[in-house]
Point group: C2
């Protein structure tokens, strides 16, 4: 039977998902779409739209909620209500997941309705399903990645086209690789959200406060630092790292000097990459587009495929309980 989807939001990723779903043979269709403003002219049947998210979440004819809005607070409320109504949920809201990891873990453990969010991390790279399937039964010792396409794009353009950071940022915005408010990208906060989610799935780590995590903006660097790196045949990249040492997980996001031997050396522009070290598999590298309507929409499509096949995340036993010490600073 065709599953009815309530789609919350109709921005870039939601449109990509809508298009991919309508071309696919998955037994599911978008039945309603919740948006903020119904006055806007839309390219699809105007009758699909509503401004009342509550309506979708409680409607017994809606089987699955796909939530793709920016607002983390509104996202949390919608996801919570939908799950409590027994509806499976797919979301891409990294801030909502990362800032509510304890609650998310309870949802994963206590509720029948699954919650998936592949598109929240590294755009098109199917890293969460890989962590939950391939890496679930081996120890992960380290994850190191380029998780923010905007800042990587800016650093690439500064190096290759000798632009200043401001010029590179303007170019990124012009080409759609940075938000109109790029502060989350530049500060490393966006990458940190993703790293916190990866760390939850790789280690079972429940990060509840970001205060002690080293987080350094790409703007903290002097111009001459870039010249020095280039002279040595090295590059500066904003790297997110989660390392397991003696059962403690260390997280950091900071600009780093990488040399040609580094698996992340060749990752340029808006691409993302994740390098993982597993005790059984050895090192692996996954690269792909970190954002975009269809690339990120494809990750939402995978979640839908998995939902329809009864898949849910099987999280490792959390290491970090209320009684445990906070995350170590590095």
């Amino acid at each position: 039977m065709t599953q009815k989807i309530g789609l919350i939001g109709y921005g870039v990723v939601a449109k990509g998902f809508y298009q991919l779903l309508s071309q696919s043979d998955l037994p599911a269709e978008v039945a309603r779409i919740c948006i903020k403003n119904t006055d806007k002219q839309r390219d699809i049947d105007q009758g699909l739209f509503t401004t009342n998210a509550q309506e979708l979440v409680t409607d017994p004819n809606i089987d699955i909620i796909v939530e793709l809005i920016d607002d983390a607070q509104a996202s949390f409320q919608i996801v919570e209500q939908a799950l409590n109504h027994g509806k499976p949920v797919i979301t891409a809201n990294k801030k909502m997941i990362a800032e509510n990891l304890k609650q998310v873990n309870q949802w994963h453990q206590m509720l029948e309705a699954p919650l998936l969010y592949e598109a929240s991390v590294a755009g098109s790279i199917p890293i969460l399903s890989t962590l939950n399937q391939f890496y679930r039964h081996q120890e992960v010792t380290q994850i190191r990645g380029i998780l923010n396409g905007s800042s990587n794009y800016i650093l690439s353009k500064m190096r290759l086209q000798k632009l200043s950071m401001d010029e590179a940022l303007q170019l990124a915005q012009k080409n759609g690789f940075a938000e109109s408010d790029p502060s989350l990208d530049i500060s490393g906060k966006d990458a940190l959200y993703k790293l916190v989610i990866l760390s939850y799935h790789a280690f079972g780590e429940l990060t509840t406060s970001f205060d002690h995590i080293r987080l350094e903006s790409i703007t903290n660097m002097e111009d001459q630092f870039f010249d020095l790196a280039a002279q040595q045949g090295m590059k500066i990249k904003s790297i997110a790292t989660a390392t397991k040492k003696a059962d403690k997980i260390q997280l950091k996001v900071q600009p780093e000097l990488v040399n040609i031997e580094d698996p992340l050396f060749n990752i340029e522009d808006e691409n993302n990459a994740i390098h993982i070290n597993g005790a059984s598999s050895g090192p692996q590298l996954y690269t792909g587009k970190g954002a975009g309507s269809h690339p990120t929409g494809a990750a939402v499509m995978q979640d839908l495929h998995l939902l329809l096949h009864g898949f849910r995340y099987t999280i490792r036993a959390p290491k970090n309980t209320a009684a445990a010490p906070p995350i170590e600073t590095i």
Copy 2:
């Protein structure tokens, strides 16, 4: 309830799988192991062993068959019998799968018991589950990969240590990266088996004959070709390619000149890599170890995880029926 596994074979990969399973929290355990020769001293409980595969396949107390032997013909018989007895099967036998694709497709479509074989392609890289989940609902346009660790190791050593092909082969054998009979590796046939399996999962392509596929051994190259490549800053690598053009799939395995812009340029030694182009996601690269006891055992562990969670391959509708034209030569 703990699932009982009948393990067929106790070679390098089977031992890796046995070790990883015994350390894991998966509700499954190896109940019997079928080997050729019970006289050999084993490092685990001698009572687990039998030489009668039939016994495991028909035993109502065995829930799952994990088949990890080299012999493709024996593998086929065991897998067929197990599936017909309603037992889910995990195998790593690429030759058996690739040479019996039509039968495998019927098993996938007609039988209740699932058949998974992640470890048959690219060792530790979880590419088949990725093709069946992330890539299942978008068009794949090309797969290009380094799928044979032995030949890649030989080519790396020839270039970096200026060895002849014979010397590099001996080094590969000494370090456990090549079989005592390396002809399948060197000829490209091993990579071709893997490419045929990838092509089935990426395109739904049922390759039934290998006669018209371009297959070129790495031994066909003159020594001076290597010097020429080096002078141009290029490398020679054995590349397996499956390309979709106007609804036809073209397969080939051959040594190719790759330059520094090529995503496969940096894949050295026994590593494998797969570069995929998907219509929605754009290009992606997956790299990892192509062989080894624990890396390949980890892929078997993933299959077991998926089996226990009710996963099975959802293959695209096959393109290539009996009435269809054979695969185009290139």
